[in-house]
Symmetry: C2
Subunit: 428 residues, 2 copies
């Protein structure tokens, strides 16, 4: 990495979470905390003196809302390291999140926002800044590191990826995706069982998250090479959605068997760029004058019902996709922890203005390495499902896609339960 | 039981599944199969010679679509009993299901339907009939046993309960309910984590199954006595839903904290008897002229958005509530197996025209017994959530309700996984 310098930089560290929550983002937080504890144990003068957590990302930091993570988790400061295991399997962003976009360089409010951010960081002598998040969060990392550099304030700024969408550049996949993909793959298998019980023709439409990239929707097909069961049709947002072709596909599927299951991405768009879920089919407006956003699954449910007259149901997998910590991928949790620790190690070695990412080094058996990527190559870009992962008709994924996805959902790991409910770690 | 006679009745047995699938209905099927294997092992001349399964309930039986379960599972007939463990944790109705309502006594098609049903049973020398299902299935049991009696055909007809709705009479609770309740309780805890991360006011509405009875919706509050977290508001179909009171409740909740979570039953009705999800608010009709059934959660999402202008999201838990076999209640699976075995034992002892049910014999520690109930007291009646389980305002459940529910979700049991996906048993 270009910005690497081996000299020990002494000061405090702060870690925050940003963007939409996932089932694994707290595992990465636990990884950062563990990384700091390990580094100080190995070398008391490693550089990081105290570790703070910012509440609600940079939004909370701007209000000076920070907590002492050492006191909670580091035994040297009276903390309980065992709580990190509970934290790692607690869904959502334990420290809270935000969706704040920092002002662009040269914009009117740059000084007001970036200036106060930096003065708060300076007041706490923060020299290490870890930000766990997706695309927007990497934008924060890029802007903050550039501003600190400009002001001559020495601080190592690291992005640690998380997003269920798997759409970040500079990494083979993203932490949090594997667990969401596992939830979707397992739930799709269960829905395939559920829909198979009747003999009357019926179409079930599963709506899956991923506005711009179809990785999550593709995961519904993961059973193909394991159980032999998968949805009849899978539509990703990487291809324009053509209603006439869709109707042909459904008719062909209904000829084969009565219980047709279709997986669709929430972000499907018609060739004219309108969203399928926009309600453009009916143009209906509710009593309050709102354009009715039925959702992609619901819109297609109504369309299939009108076209075929058969029983149709739509199932929006909704929030559980990103917070179902009761069915995580063990591979994902292991990697989410590891990438947090690796970010600490890299920063202590002098890396800055970078995002940690995964490189796949083997398929069967699956193997990976973790490295730092220049943040400029990553922020504000979307990694879509490539052409070779989608079939020619655009209504299924290829075996190559399934093979790419499979290692990411491997392994089970369950939270501890008490009286029938999972134990979660809650920051007071 | 009145119809009990100790004499050995020799002949074959048939088992079927009916109504909506659950995550535990195959456990009860496994229980019936195991019960027959055990009975024959204990006493080769117990009475049951061969055990068949009907495909798609009585619908399949009318087409003579039956399979030999002994050949699949009983080692004495070359079967693999270990497969019963996989079957028990396979969601949905493995044998298929149907929603057929048998003709009433004296109706025009009684002879056509009941007559051919009986002649098929007679042809296979079926003397034991086990039917796993909910309210409608118990109606089938009642009608079939009455008709067989009238025709002088000796057959012991047993209902084995299952329904996620928990709304059958004659039993403390129903097999399948505990697993659905656990899925709902766990998922609600996860959604509570997910919705807590932002600081802007937001309302999240969780729509839960249960058209007539609120047992499943009540289960969203299970965290109260375990984790301390529960939805702010819980509305059951047992109470009329009054929009003005709902708005007051939401306003009061938003004053306390920004992330309000509301659990609602799909079956909520306004005082005039219309369903909240009927789209009566907007009266909108889509381009095809269909009355738009938005769903209760979606209707309330739009209503809250219009009233408060804040961020609102609705989450319909949908099919996973009844098929999420990856997160079953161990207590429920144990009981579902046990009630299947008990049905066989009871029938062999001469019980007929009965449904097996649970009686709770202790709360802390929880204890239960299994007994047979006269089918006439059960069929076509709904057991609703009693008054003492709902608060005076009708917007939450009481502690007594939580205490009733808690033992039913206790314990975890996980299916076997292969390459990241659960192994399910599929009838060929």
């Amino acid at each position: 990495m270009e910005n690497k310098e081996k000299r020990i930089l002494r000061g405090n560290a702060v870690v925050g979470q940003s963007g939409g929550p996932t089932a694994a983002i707290n595992a990465t937080l636990a990884g950062v905390i563990r990384g700091v504890i390990h580094a100080r144990t190995a070398a008391p003068d490693c550089g990081i003196v105290r570790l703070f957590g910012m509440r609600n990302g940079v939004d909370g930091l701007l209000r000076d809302d920070i907590i002492d993570l050492d006191a909670l988790f580091d035994p040297a400061f009276g903390g309980t390291p065992a709580d990190l295991d509970t934290l790692a399997l607690t869904p959502s962003s334990g420290l809270g999140s935000c969706r704040k976009k920092l002002p662009a360089p040269g914009s009117a409010d740059e000084e007001a926002v970036m200036g106060s951010l930096l003065s708060i960081l300076r007041a706490h002598d923060v020299r290490y800044f870890f930000y766990i998040g997706g695309n927007d969060s990497m934008d924060t990392v890029a802007k903050l590191s550039a501003y600190a550099d400009k002001q001559g304030y020495e601080m190592r700024v690291m992005g640690v990826p998380k997003t269920i969408d798997n759409d970040l550049m500079g990494t083979d996949h993203t932490p949090g995706f594997g667990s969401a993909a596992k939830y979707i793959a397992v739930t799709t298998q269960e829905i395939l069982r559920d829909t198979a019980v009747y003999t009357v023709p019926a179409v079930t439409i599963i709506e899956i998250m991923g506005r711009d990239a179809g990785w999550l929707t593709a995961s519904s097909a993961l059973g193909r090479l394991v159980t032999g069961f998968e949805p009849d049709l899978v539509y990703l947002p990487e291809r324009p959605f053509i209603f006439d072709e869709f109707y042909e596909d459904v008719a062909a599927a209904l000829k084969k068997h009565p219980n047709v299951v279709v997986a669709v991405s929430e972000g499907l768009q018609c060739p004219d760029g309108s969203y399928v879920g926009e309600g453009t089919q009916s143009g209906s407006v509710d009593v309050f004058g709102h354009k009715y956003l039925a959702g992609t699954g619901k819109a297609l449910e109504l369309a299939v019902k009108a076209k075929f007259g058969c029983k149709v149901r739509s199932v929006e997998l909704n929030l559980p996709q990103r917070c179902a910590a009761h069915i995580v991928s063990a591979q994902d949790i292991e990697e989410s922890l590891a990438v947090g620790e690796a970010a600490v190690d890299a920063a202590l070695c002098g890396v800055s203005r970078a995002m940690m990412g995964f490189a796949r080094t083997g398929d069967e058996p699956y193997a990976y390495g973790i490295g730092a990527q220049n943040i400029a190559d990553i922020a504000n870009r979307t990694r879509c499902v490539p052409d070779e992962f989608i079939n020619a008709r655009g209504n299924q994924v290829t075996d190559a896609c399934v093979k790419y996805l499979l290692p990411l959902i491997r392994g089970e790991m369950y939270p501890e339960y008490e009286n029938g409910l999972p134990k979660h770690y809650i920051f007071k």
